[in-house]
């Protein structure tokens, strides 16, 4: 899991190089690529500290500050990471790619509770 997050951080950092403009997201208003990139890297670092030290999130949550958002536990972390990752995808205008990728069979379980059709 840690390697996954590290790899993701590298991918995000590389992907963000040269991306210094703002784009409009459909519902969230203006999204800053740099801000989302920083939030994701801070969250990855926070997760790393929690995993390495075996301490609760509350010990390290000073390392993550984003508009007053607080990470107090694993659920907060998951929600925040997912939100910022999706905002980042919006910021780089990759929504269509996301829709295509998410249709792959290996990602079926991302749809939440599934139904067999209509």
């Amino acid at each position: 899991m840690k390697n996954l997050f590290r790899s993701l951080a590298v991918v995000l950092a590389v992907g963000a190089m040269g991306q210094t403009f703002y784009v409009y997201a459909q519902e969230a208003g203006i999204i800053s690529i740099e801000k989302e990139e920083q939030a994701l890297m801070d969250l990855i670092e926070l997760k790393r500290q929690v995993d390495v030290n075996g301490e609760p999130y509350t010990i390290f949550n000073d390392s993550f500050k984003d508009d007053g958002e607080e990470i107090l536990n694993e659920e907060d972390f998951k929600e925040s990471f997912t939100t910022h990752a999706l905002r980042y995808i919006q910021a780089i205008e990759a929504e269509e790619t996301l829709r295509e990728v998410i249709q792959r069979p290996e990602f079926r379980n991302l749809y939440g509770r599934d139904n067999p059709g209509i």
Binding site: Q103, P105, G112, R113, D114, N115, P116, G117, I118
Partner: protein
């Protein structure tokens, strides 16, 4: 390979009713109970690719399924396309792409809007049982026609009127389903809200049937989509999502009436 099969013949000059199943991935088996009560028309069943000869090979994308239907009905004239649920979406899309031989269509409990699909997801999740979750996981782990069929059949209480759920389950167990058609087309099928606006710009006779007891898509949800597409809306009392299977006689009466009003030649 997709195909249409003549199930009931009235005369060569009569209107042609083509029944398109939902899913995606179901065969037209659920339309069988309708046959006895449909009058004054030739009735065809449409078998989507994979539901007649198995799922192996082929392309099952939404666009491919739409084009399959277009091709399968190309030799017919005076067509009323009647689609159940996903089949209704496909019917509308086919009409918008080439309406030269289609003069009217009927949607049975077809969701188009995002709100309608959200209704399906929310209501399904709310009442999902552990057995259904287990079947869903079996399908995810091993997505075959068999695991898909078992999963769908286990979910019968969501899809049929309470007093008909056992019959519905039995019918689904007998259906020659196509899991590939389901996997490859379902996502795109849920993003067809724009068809309703296009439909407003291309007038034709159209009827919408909804089930009063539809657990996934209640009439109040479907009525909005129907209005948006400028359909004539009829609610069938006592019917679940498989309106025509739960209440075949009442559904057939509406279809007979609709087709006779449009000026059949039988």
């Amino acid at each position: 390979m997709a195909k249409v099969v003549l199930k009931k013949q009235t005369s060569q000059l009569a209107d042609n009713l083509v029944l398109v199943p939902g899913g995606p991935g179901l065969s037209p088996l659920s339309f069988e109970p309708l046959l006895a009560s449909l009058e004054g028309m030739n009735v065809y069943f449409y078998y989507p690719t994979g539901t007649y000869e198995g799922s192996d090979g082929g392309n099952f994308s939404y666009t491919e399924q739409r084009d399959d239907l277009l091709e399968a009905i190309s030799s017919l004239t005076n067509i009323t396309l009647c689609g159940h649920s996903f089949g209704g979406i496909l019917a509308v899309d086919v009409f918008l792409n080439d309406s030269s031989n289609i003069d009217s269509f009927i949607c049975i409990a077809s969701p188009f809007s995002q709100a309608a699909f959200e209704s399906v997801n929310e209501r399904f999740s709310e009442h999902e049982t552990n057995e259904q979750k287990t079947k869903a996981e079996s399908f995810q782990d091993d997505p075959t026609d068999n695991t898909y069929r078992e999963w769908f059949a286990s979910c019968a209480p969501h899809y049929f009127a309470y007093n008909n759920a056992k019959q519905g389950e039995k019918m689904l167990f007998s259906d020659k389903v196509s899991s590939k058609a389901f996997i490859e087309a379902r996502e795109e099928a849920s993003q067809k809200e724009n068809l309703l606006e296009k439909l407003q710009q291309k007038p034709c006779k159209k009827l919408f049937l909804a089930g009063e007891k539809d657990n996934l898509l209640p009439p109040e949800v479907l009525r909005k989509d129907s209005k948006h597409g400028d359909f004539e809306f009829k609610m069938i009392e006592g019917a679940g999502h498989f309106v025509h299977f739960d209440c075949p006689q009442a559904s057939a009466e509406q279809i007979n009436n609709f087709i006779s009003k449009k000026g059949g030649k039988s």
